[in-house]
């Protein structure tokens, strides 16, 4: 069976979980949307502005570095020219040329604040002191330098960060090395321009200085960096691949958000990593705030749900209480101020109780009437034994007085009364009832002698049926009291037939005609006897059954009695069953 919470669960629970579900879904959607969207937007924005910044930095850097490259080019040209003068000169000339070369190169250092010193690898006289701005190194020393590989196959190269000795101690420099060619296009010297890393870092320093910056050359080699180099070193290959694929871009790996930019006209690339956590901190905080709001909302909704369900359930509870404690004696008042569905429900219930009370009232009235009737019946009831004994004594008196007729009448009467007053079932077989009536007729026959004729015409079908006891006697008595009064000849027919699934009894006489207003003026015809019969039949079988009085074909009055077919089987359960079958 399918689970239907609306049928099985408490209303407040349904309310709360229904609301909570919606809010949770809504809050969840908002939070995730704001976080995902916010993060994406931040990443996009950051990427965009960082790229712009990096491109600007790149331009700035490029200007300075190109300056150095061009200066070194000029220096190399001058160097070559001066060097030519030295060839075949005296040692004095050589000394002069070298001092001119030094002087010239000195001026490059003095004129370019970025430049720390210049190293010259040549066959000029070696001169290396920490105090000088220009150092002369022997040519063969160059091949032992760690950076030589970078320069071997090209005319010039930026050398990655290395440490040189200076009068300030060890200093990290980034150097630009250029081969110097003579007019025969043979490289005979190398000049190395040393730029302190601090200068590079100052160049790539941004105002906020919050990020990890790295400077890479066109081969993706890490030239210098600010702060932490680990990430750049670990991901050198990856960064290089990204740089090759796109000149500018961004990528996120774990907590590192990498943005890079390299301009096409520059061999330098700048890469910046920012902590993703720090970038999205704002977005995360926003999401957290949303989440907090969501939780607060859920709590509010809990309160609201409880409040609402209380409010909605309260009238139901009131109604339930009213129904549970329903009693006629004490009326539980329902609130009158409900105008909505609950109002209708209350009104409906009030009407219902009103109707029930009315019903009870009528039942009570009926009951009282019935009781009054019973009391009346009891009042009228005569102790049968007293009656029998009295009749017995009268009988004896008649026998002693040799009044056989009276004696016979008395014995018929006694027989009739015995039948009528026996405490037996209220339903009796029709033949028994007929036999009973016959004793009464036999009693009348003695008075009427031959002037009275009576006949029973009971079909075999009807003989098996039951009728209420003493049903016929009032009609017979009525015929004698009213119909035959003053008549010379009296004839009576008692007929029983089964017609249209009913037992139909006809008691016809040849007495006086029935009066037209008999049904209205009951006391006029029949009095208690007939009324009693009518009420009995109606009480037992309903309105469909009963009797009518009319003029008989024989010239007098006939009573037509309609009864249900009551055979042995239907009679066995007693009267209740009989009643049930009709209601």
């Amino acid at each position: 069976m399918r689970f239907n919470p609306f049928k099985t669960m408490r209303i407040d629970v349904v309310f709360f979980f229904g609301f909570a579900l919606i809010v949770v879904i809504l809050v969840g959607l908002i939070v995730s949307f704001s976080y995902i969207n916010g993060s994406k937007e931040i990443a996009d924005n950051t990427s965009y502005y960082q790229q712009k910044l990096l491109i600007e930095l790149n331009k700035k850097l490029n200007t300075h570095l190109e300056d150095i490259e061009q200066s070194s080019n000029t220096a190399a040209q001058n160097f070559s020219d001066l060097y030519e003068q030295r060839l075949n000169g005296s040692t004095y000339d050589q000394m002069k040329v070298q001092s001119m070369i030094r002087s010239q190169l000195n001026n490059y250092v003095f004129g370019m604040p970025m430049l720390h010193s210049i190293e010259v690898y040549s066959d000029l006289r070696p001169s290396y002191t920490l105090q000088d701005f220009v150092q002369f190194m022997p040519l063969n020393q160059m091949e032992t330098e760690a950076w030589y590989g970078d320069l071997r196959d090209s005319d010039y190269a930026w050398l990655s960060q290395r440490t040189i000795k200076t009068n300030k101690g060890d200093t990290s420099v980034i150097s630009f090395a250029r081969k110097v060619y003579n007019r025969f296009n043979r490289s005979f010297a190398v000049i190395v321009f040393n730029v302190p890393v601090s200068e590079f870092q100052a160049l790539i320093t941004t105002e906020d200085s919050r990020s990890n910056l790295a400077l890479l050359d066109d081969t993706g080699k890490l030239i210098t960096h600010k702060e932490n180099a680990e990430f750049f070193l670990e991901n050198e290959a990856e960064i290089k691949a990204q740089l090759d694929a796109r000149t500018t871009g961004s990528k996120r790996t774990g907590d590192e958000f990498l943005v890079w930019a390299s301009s096409p006209d520059s061999q330098w690339s700048l890469a910046e990593i920012t902590s993703w956590k720090r970038l999205t901190a704002g977005s995360l905080r926003q999401s957290q705030i949303f989440l907090a709001w969501g939780i607060v909302t859920i709590l509010l909704i809990l309160v609201l749900a409880v409040f609402l369900s209380r409010r909605f359930v309260k009238p139901i509870a009131l109604l339930l209480k009213a129904m549970n404690n329903f009693s006629l004696s004490r009326r539980i008042p329902l609130p009158k101020d409900y105008k909505n569905e609950f109002g209708h429900l209350f009104q409906g219930y009030e009407k219902l109780t009103y109707r029930i009370e009315e019903l009870y009232d009528s039942l009570r009235r009926q009951h009282e009437e019935q009781r009054a009737a019973e009391i009346k019946a009891l009042q009228m009831m005569i102790n049968p034994h007293f009656l029998y004994n009295s009749l017995d004594q009268v009988n004896w008196m008649a026998i002693e007085a040799s009044q056989p007729k009276i004696s016979k009448m008395l014995s018929h009467l006694a027989s009739f009364l015995r039948g009528a007053l026996t405490d037996s079932d209220s339903l009796v077989p029709l033949p028994e009832e007929a036999e009973h009536i016959e004793s009464y007729l036999a009693f009348q026959k003695i008075r009427w002698e031959d002037r009275l004729e009576y006949r029973f015409d009971i079909s075999d079908e009807a003989k098996a049926l039951y009728v209420p006891k003493m049903l016929l006697q009032p009609f017979i008595e009525n015929a004698f009291i009213h119909g035959f009064h003053g008549k010379r000849q009296a004839s009576l027919l008692i007929e029983a037939r089964v017609r249209e699934e009913r037992l139909q009894l006809r008691i016809a006489d040849n007495g006086r005609q029935v009066r037209g207003d008999w049904a209205v003026n009951r006391s006029a015809k029949g009095g208690y006897g007939l009324r009693n019969v009518r009420e009995r039949i109606e009480a037992m079988f309903g309105n469909d059954f009963g009797f009518t009085l009319e003029n008989s074909p024989e010239g007098g009055t006939q009573a037509m009695i309609r009864l249900p077919i009551l055979d042995l089987s239907s009679c066995k359960g007693g009267i209740t069953n009989v009643e049930d079958s009709h209601y």
């Binding site: 040692t91 000394m95 001092s99 000195n106 001169s127 105090q131 000088d132 009068n167």
Partner: protein, 447 residues
């Protein structure tokens, strides 16, 4: 309402004032800002600057030349000053003598010269004459001998303050002299002793070792010679070159002879010689035994080979050859926006006893009597030698005059001319003619 207007205008005025002051403070952050030209009003404006932001962060650029010992001592002194004045940071530029003034010239022309400059006597007149140096009148010089202070004045304005006094003398490798069993040069020795020592030493040293470093191309050497020969200073009172022809030619001829004999270092070794360089100083690397030296360099050379060196005066002729030189002037860049701070620092550097202790004698014997008094008990052996050196030269020390204006670079050109002699590209007579021609050019330019 009127009250409100008054009140609010007062508040606005205050705000404007505050903004103005903070703007000044910010301006002060930019060291050697190029738009701050070297004009007469610079000291005043910088003074207000200094008052407005007494503790405003300031970066001072400072440049000096010298040996590694001097670099180390100076850097240490800067750290001490920074500890005392957290608002001050320093940018340092230091090197050897070679190229120092070339660089300074380039920096001045780019208006990026340092705030505080170590100045040499040869250039004071040049730089002060061009209005590039600030007036140091705010400096406390009460503890300094007025004569010493005067050495930094040009037209009675103090443009440079010496940090010490040094005497010119000679250094020799005591261990070699003792090993060879020679009589060591001493204070008061004569030129004859000088030649004799050269001959004797050369005889024992062999072909590839030399006695004296050939410093004949250094104008200082000839100055000492002319003094010792009683011909006076190389500049006369009017600032004209006053080199005695015969004396000069005699000197150069004699030096040529010594060179030929292998008593002086040959030209190629001379060229690579770097005074006080651990590898390239010919006395330190063993190519030669002796050279001239200023007393304030005793500590530096002793640090390279502790206890190995002995010291002597410049050789005497008819008079003494040595003189006392107010060494290592400090000057303030007139273009600097931080002149007040710079003067404050220099004041500390020359008058503070702790600074004196840190610097020792790396710039010569301290000029402040108080500092010297406090320092004397703490002298190291090298300091003691240096002081003895100075004291022995002082009694008959020759007078020192700053190079006249426009002649600052003369010694460089002088060197080139003498180098021709060293390389035998010329003769003393021809070289003298060339020198005179050069002097005429200088004199013409200086007028």
């Amino acid at each position: 309402m009127r009250w409100f207007v008054k009140k609010s205008s007062f508040v606005i005025a205050l705000i404007v004032l505050a903004v103005g002051i903070s703007a000044c403070g910010n301006g002060g952050n930019n060291s050697a800002s190029p738009n701050n030209g070297g004009n007469a009003s610079a000291p005043e404006s910088s003074a207000t600057d200094g008052n407005a932001g007494a503790d405003a962060p300031v970066t001072l650029t400072i440049a000096w030349w010298g040996s590694q010992a001097r670099h180390d001592a100076t850097l240490k002194a800067l750290d001490q000053y920074k500890a005392l004045h957290p608002n001050v940071t320093f940018q340092t530029q230091f090197s050897g003598w070679d190229g120092y003034f070339d660089k300074l010239a380039v920096q001045y022309s780019a208006k990026k010269a340092p705030d505080i400059i170590q100045m040499d006597a040869a250039y004071i007149n040049d730089y002060a004459g061009r209005g590039l140096l600030g007036d140091l009148k705010d400096l406390n010089v009460s503890d300094i001998d007025p004569k010493t202070v005067d050495s930094g004045k040009v037209n009675d304005v103090l443009y440079a303050i010496p940090t010490g006094v040094a005497a010119l003398g000679m250094v020799y490798d005591k261990t070699v002299v003792e090993k060879l069993g020679l009589e060591a040069p001493d204070f008061g020795w004569t030129w004859d002793d000088f030649y004799a020592f050269g001959e004797a030493a050369k005889a024992k040293l062999g072909d590839d070792k030399y006695v004296y470093v050939d410093q004949s191309a250094d104008l200082v050497d000839y100055t000492a010679y002319q003094y010792s020969m009683g011909k006076g200073y190389i500049y006369d009172a009017d600032g004209n070159l006053s080199i005695d022809k015969d004396t000069w030619i005699n000197y150069m001829t004699k030096m040529g002879e010594l060179r030929d004999k292998g008593i002086l270092t040959p030209a190629d070794i001379t060229t690579t010689d770097k005074e006080l360089d651990p590898q390239q100083d010919s006395v330190i690397n063993g190519n030669a035994i002796a050279r001239h030296l200023f007393s304030n360099q005793v500590g530096s050379i002793d640090a390279l080979k502790p206890g190995a060196f002995g010291f002597a005066s410049m050789p005497y002729g008819s008079e003494a050859g040595g003189w006392l030189k107010p060494s290592m002037f400090w000057s303030v860049n007139a273009q600097s926006p931080h002149q007040a701070e710079a003067i404050k620092f220099i004041d500390w550097l020359i008058n503070d006893q702790e600074a004196g202790k840190t610097l020792g004698l790396t710039r010569g014997t301290p000029v402040s009597n108080k500092v010297l008094e406090a320092l004397t008990p703490t002298f190291s052996e090298a300091d003691q030698i240096s002081t003895d050196f100075l004291n022995k030269v002082t009694p008959d020390a020759q007078k020192f005059i700053n190079d006249p204006q426009g002649w600052g670079n003369f010694k460089n050109d002088y060197k080139t001319i003498v180098e021709e002699l060293q390389y035998k590209q010329s003769t003393p007579d021809k070289a003298y003619e060339k020198l005179m021609k050069l002097a005429e050019e200088y004199a013409a330019e200086a007028k």
